[in-house]
Symmetry: C2
Subunit: 114 residues, 2 copies
């Protein structure tokens, strides 16, 4: 298992963020993590929508979100805790996340990220 990669704020790329959020399934995952404000484990995220996401697919989705800089993942024992990087992304690209979540009809919560 290779270590998790997280881009620095200054390395965030708009194209990666838009691509990551151009998939409704990933948006649902991200919105859930951002809304929770605290850790979201993969298992808990697997059945948000109308189907159960296969875990290999889910793992890929998490990787896309992580490498776009939208979430941060930390291994805690056997599980992975994910939390959003909304604040960092927002500092770099003001208003972007909010506009996107609003467009999807998912108004973001106010800064409840731990």
């Amino acid at each position: 298992m290779r270590p998790l990669f997280h881009p620095a704020v200054e390395d965030l790329k708009p194209e990666a963020i838009l691509y990551a959020l151009s998939d409704p399934e990933r948006v649902a995952i991200f919105a859930q993590i951002a809304g929770l404000g605290s850790s979201g484990t993969c298992t808990a995220l697997a059945n948000l929508g109308s189907r159960v996401i296969p875990k290999s697919s889910l793992s890929q989705h998490m990787k896309v979100l992580r490498e776009a800089g939208l979430i941060r993942g930390e291994r805690h024992g056997v599980e992975m805790r994910n939390h959003s990087r909304c604040q960092e992304v927002d500092r770099r690209f003001p208003g972007l996340i909010q506009a996107i979540l609003s467009a999807y009809g998912r108004p973001p919560e106010q800064s409840n990220a731990g």
Copy 2:
């Protein structure tokens, strides 16, 4: 040559818009069309960046932008005139286009769409 398809405002899908604008080449094309405010022909759009876009690829890019609802294309004789649908998109998804263009470092012009 099949007729051009343009989604109605109420049929605009955020995922299609984000996908369309997750490619820097398409963003450059869209920003040019939106910035021009008037018609942009494919030929004029082919070499905005560091390379000349092959015309079959350009045609695909235009189709993606058009079917996402970001631009409107009209055939005028031998050429196609494209103009942005920023205002319509903005009515449906307020702030989205502006946030995206700003993230790409392409601050949008003020409503100069004809």
